[in-house]
Amino acid sequence: MLTLYDARFASRLLLGTAQYPSPDTLKRAVEAARAEIVTVSVRRESARARTGQGFWQLIEQLGCRVLPNTAGCRTAKEAVSTARMARELFGTPWIKLEVIANDDTLQPDLFSLVEAANILCAEGFEVLPYTTEDLSAAERLVAAGCTVLMPWAAPIGSARGLINKTGLKTLRAYFPGVTLIVDAGIGAPSHAAEVMELGYDAVLLNTAVAKAGDPVTMAQAFARAIEAGRFAFEAGLIEPSDMATPSTPVAGTPFKIDSVS
């Protein structure tokens, strides 16, 4: 079971709700993924279009727990205000805390992130910070009160997979008791499986599913890959080796004469 603060979930796949070709595709993708948590955002509402009101109905139909984000925030202050609006809007203490350092990489601004996390944790938020594999930021986020960390694998939407696998491994080793979710940069089910094999607790995805040729099938693909990676972590992987080792028994190989006595 995945533990996020005091809630527990069977699914280890958190799914974003953006960029799908249609609301129906989103719905079917969420079902195919058997996701229990979906991410949402807070955006300006136009009095005419009232887009958000319609989207809210869609979300309610999904029957998932929502995880609002602070996507696009560039300062701790913006993120804190956005988080507070999100708490009221979605009726949840959860916040995916995202403070971005620049638009090209969408890298977390670790300093503003820690600043905002400190404020929000103190206000009773359950903060899920979008961070990097950096250990010094992780320490401060945990000290602030975060029991979940969400490091990137690669820049958001880049689909490049684990660009610093060593860093992700080290983070896992350093925070054995913290729930670790890889958020951002996952492009393929094999990436998701790899993350889970490292002992990560869950994966948060959006673009790789929503922009796939067939998002519903891709959602299913990721769901199985994440299960696969988790099972593998639990079952215990064999160690890679530089040498080959026969799988078929060598003893009794026909036509060998070296055993003649």
Binding site: G16, V40, E45, G52, F55
Partner: protein
């Protein structure tokens, strides 16, 4: 009075944030609000007087990753 609503200049007769929301048809809608960068809870909208040039945010749920 001229204010900034969601980044656009508008003219409103609303005196407080609650009236502004109502005048935009947001009564009962799933929205949240901020004034000049600070969150204003639903229960405090009626008490939040508007001042010319205030920057108001009215937000709602949207897709997110």
């Amino acid at each position: 009075m001229q204010i900034l609503l969601n980044g656009e200049r508008i003219v409103t007769r609303a005196r407080d944030l609650d009236e502004l929301c109502a005048s935009l048809g947001f009564a009962g809608a799933r929205i949240a609000t901020a004034v000049n960068g600070n969150f204003v809870a639903a229960g405090r909208r009626a008490k939040t007087k508007l001042t010319p040039a205030d920057a108001i945010e009215i937000v709602a749920p949207r897709q997110g990753g």
